[in-house]
Symmetry: C2
Subunit: 571 residues, 2 copies
């Protein structure tokens, strides 16, 4: 590709709404463009990266026995009614009507579709197991699209569905897909962790997530360095010891705590550790139908996901109360709420551990007052065994070693669905014994476009992107320092053609631009190998460097092709 | 691919709603499936065919300097308002709203999108010309989806857009794309014609269509065997001589024609040629706002497209009047309408040629009566130079030779858009002289999924599909006659692996089925080359045949690989 022709509208400024590094770099390097919130276009270089990722995924899916198909994005309401997800999927589902007022959605996922299709076609256990996948555009009308390609409303996904005769078969299919995923992500060249996941609205039991480790990631994962435990914070239990020096129960008292609201202020005021406090958080369901007061140990953070499961309200719909909503309920302002004396319509919920705090301190539901020596009776409250976020050094649930915490972006997930969808849609096959049985299913996703971001989040420096070889838009960039110099241009194109003949994807910067502009762009777009043809060509030499370390070395012109080939083959 | 694993749900019955041969065969062979009207899925074999077509198109686009990108399918209303097509596109456009009630459509095409994007990025004439393309899912809510993949509501299209500084540049880009199209369609292996097209709601002036010749096709094309004229019937003029033996104008009379309605009945009754009659057709605009009486020579058929342009009502909205609607207008029943004595609200329109008919015969607007010796005065009517369908043997507009007529399916189109979109959206670049000028654009489409159908319409026999080598899902099918025979199975797999090693795509029928079932399926799915490993393997021989002629020959096992390789390389 000649850069004089390439459509690569780089930006010198960081776009104001690019909220993470990968979005900034992909926009600045002219690889993607935003149309509207959460809707992106792929320009030539970005498109090539995505295709490379697609191809890696395709090869691994094919190698693991999955067959590629392509379903439509629009799906009729009826198949979603069958699984009850037309109503339950919520506002994330884009819905539309055709000219005859028939209702459709833009598929956010395809469990229903595949189950429906298979049910009409596949009759016998002899045709099982079956593994079908597609690489296709998905739609989710995110409440808050953000992080560039990470949380987009239209995005490219690889989704696969397996059909087995029994749970044992499904577990095999699941293990097979897990292997394929590991191989695919290994090839893409970024760091990730496989963690136990939450099944969310997919249903089913066991699931795993593939989390690319990125500081900006929306997911928090906990993992153990001593055993193989790893899970998202949504499912990782927060196991920690409650230390209490008190043994004797003391009488409860009200204490004047003027303007002392936060845990930090309380620690200073009472000269006592945060773990001695009971933090009471007030939340509501978005539609105002329910109000919750949640008690947790003062030194921990509430896990919305864990609360969400306990009270059966989706995480999205759980909102913290605003200051003006608290007063009528708790008779106080923010910072003085507590479990005692709340209005009757408030559902009081407690993390099990608060009952271990002897002589605890909590808000008095009265401005500028706290209660001390509080000893709650556990039978008065709805109790969650674990309602707080997992933290570093909590105990591993498997081996009790201290856990580590990291942040990341979910790039893949795999679900053991069992018969959730086949039962709901009454999708059956005839088993060996001639009886109709429900398919036992699995479903498996990889966020193809999201992977583009995940890679960049890990692979960049202050000058720009550093693409891993396997997914780079081009593997080599030849820069002609001065296109008016005939020898430089001639030799550069000679090299360009030699590399092309070897089947190596190569760009040549033949633009009529200053060398500085070319080098800046080269750093920004992050092609792994770079050959600069400048003055040294008079002595038969060119400059060679790798984007990852930018160490320059002089190389004989004749040796470049073999050097480049070797490096590419080794990676 | 082992057929024991392949998902290929063939059907023995012809699906009742498969209205053309390609739809029947693609459904029966388990290559595609219908979800709802006009919405299809591609199963493994069909998907491979489509990918092969995609790849041919991609290679030719790349070879002709186009750069691949990928835009979103959802597009905000605003960019369509700018070109006025949000309202004008009509009910074919799928529209939807997001959770914030913002309006979007599912892109039926992407002229607006590309113009909008370029305008924000490309500033200088130095960056032109530019040619961008994508292979992407498009949406059109067809009034009547039909013909399988041909007129679907969700379909895969390659669309390209060129941007030039001036008309001359656009014409060059257009010619370049025309070459790419010819190469791509040539490679796919079906017969097609390039014809002058109608620009429809794309705007612009010159356009060409690529029509695959198919008897079931919706398009009619007229072409000249003596020069290079070829056009759709929408634009091909119907040039024909009106012969009239009468010279003297005779007085008009009413004649009793009891129950004589059709042109055929009138010809028999008056013993005179159809060309002496004036046919009067009554139509209305769908919303009842206008009524038309259209006079054409009795021996010709009305062209709705030509009428549509004259009266500026879309073809879809022009409906023939029903019998009960005619009476109050024409005071008569079907068959007796004529230009004289119609109600005032009827717009009377005439094909120019009716004035050449001396002493013509037409309906009297009175049951069982016609008028003879009608000589119309042309200044009383709205006149269209040509309102009838072109027919075989009409004169070529270039060289006057007789035209030929064929039917076909539009698989590609190219449009010279000029500044229609860039002007509407005020998309400009700075020219050499530093002045802002509108981009001069072209747009170019290939119906990728439609091509799958077009090929099958041409390439089949009574037993099934006959894929051209270039796009076949697999090039070779090895059939094991009896999988319980160890030697047959062992040798067949040996061959399978040898071909795979050569990079040849190959299927092996290793299913535990009767040989008859296997051969029937093989004929149906149409793999070009077939090797059958049966009893003759005991003597070291296999049976070889091509799907196109099904001529069987015995071949030494050792020679198969080289024979197959040779045939594939030659095609």
């Amino acid at each position: 590709m000649k850069m004089s022709n390439l459509y690569m509208p780089t930006l010198r400024e960081v776009p104001s709404d690019a909220d993470i590094m990968s979005a900034q770099l992909l926009l600045r390097s002219g690889m993607i463009r935003k149309l509207v919130s959460g809707v992106y276009s792929f320009l030539p270089l970005g498109f090539r990266v995505m295709k490379n990722i697609e191809q890696i995924v395709r090869e691994e899916m094919d190698a693991h026995g999955a067959q590629e198909v392509l379903m439509s994005a629009i799906q009729p309401r009826e198949i979603w009614d069958a699984s009850n997800r037309w109503e339950n999927f919520g506002p994330e589902m884009f819905k539309l009507k055709d000219r005859h007022d028939r209702e459709f959605c833009l598929g956010p996922t395809h469990e229903e579709y595949f189950t429906f299709m298979i049910n009409n076609e596949l009759k016998s256990y002899k045709q099982l197991p079956l593994n079908l996948y597609q690489i296709q555009t998905k739609y989710r009308d995110e409440r808050r699209p953000r992080f560039g390609l990470v949380r987009a409303r239209e995005f490219i996904m690889k989704d696969a569905y397996t059909f087995d005769t029994d749970v044992e078969g499904m577990e095999k299919s699941y293990a097979n897909m897990a292997t394929a995923y590991t191989k695919a992500f290994d090839r893409m060249g970024f760091k990730y962790k496989v963690v136990l996941g939450d099944s969310g609205n997919m249903g089913g039991s066991i699931s795993h997530e593939y989390i690319a480790i990125t500081p900006s990631g929306e997911s928090t994962i906990a993992y153990c360095d001593h055993c193989d435990f790893a899970a998202t914070d949504e499912v990782a239990p927060a196991n920690f010891k409650m230390s209490s020096s008190d043994t004797q129960v003391l009488p409860c008292e009200e204490v004047h705590t003027p303007n002392i609201k936060t845990i930090e202020e309380l620690e200073a005021f009472f000269k006592i550790d945060a773990s001695q406090f009971i933090k009471t958080l007030l939340l509501k369901k978005e539609d105002d139908s329910r109000i919750f007061a949640v008690m947790i140990p003062g030194n921990r953070q509430l896990s919305l996901v864990k609360l969400s499961k306990l009270v059966d309200v989706s995480e999205d719909e759980l909102l913290m109360l605003a200051e003006d909503e608290i007063y009528p309920l708790a008779g106080s302002l923010l910072g003085f709420a507590g479990p005692i004396g709340l209005k009757e319509n408030v559902e009081i919920i407690a993390d099990q551990r608060v009952f271990d705090i002897k002589n605890a301190i909590c808000g008095a539901n009265k401005k500028d007052y706290h209660l001390i020596n509080v000893n709650l009776e556990s039978n008065l409250y709805k109790i969650g065994a674990d309602l707080v976020q997992v933290e570093a050094n909590d105990s591993c649930p498997n081996c009790n070693s201290p856990l580590s915490i990291d942040r990341g972006t979910e790039v893949g997930n795999i679900f053991q669905l069992g018969d959730k969808y086949s039962k709901a849609m009454n999708a059956t096959f005839l088993d060996k014994d001639g009886k109709a049985k429900h398919f036992i299913m699995g479903s498996y996703g990889i966020g193809i476009s999201r992977c583009v971001s995940a890679v960049v989040e890990q692979c960049y420096d202050e000058k720009g992107i550093i693409w891993p070889m396997a997914i780079a838009p081009y593997k080599v960039l030849i820069t002609i320092v001065n296109i008016k110099n005939e020898l430089q241009t001639q030799k550069a194109f000679e090299l360009y053609e030699s590399l092309q003949k070897k089947g190596i994807s190569v760009m040549i910067d033949d633009r009529n631009e200053r060398a500085g502009v070319k080098f800046t762009d080269a750093d920004l777009i992050g092609i792994p190998l770079r050959v600069t043809v400048g003055k040294a060509i008079d002595e038969g030499k060119v400059e060679f460097s790798k984007r990852e370390d930018c160490v320059k070395e002089e190389v004989q012109f004749e040796e470049v092709v073999s050097k480049v080939s070797m490096l590419i083959n080794n990676l």
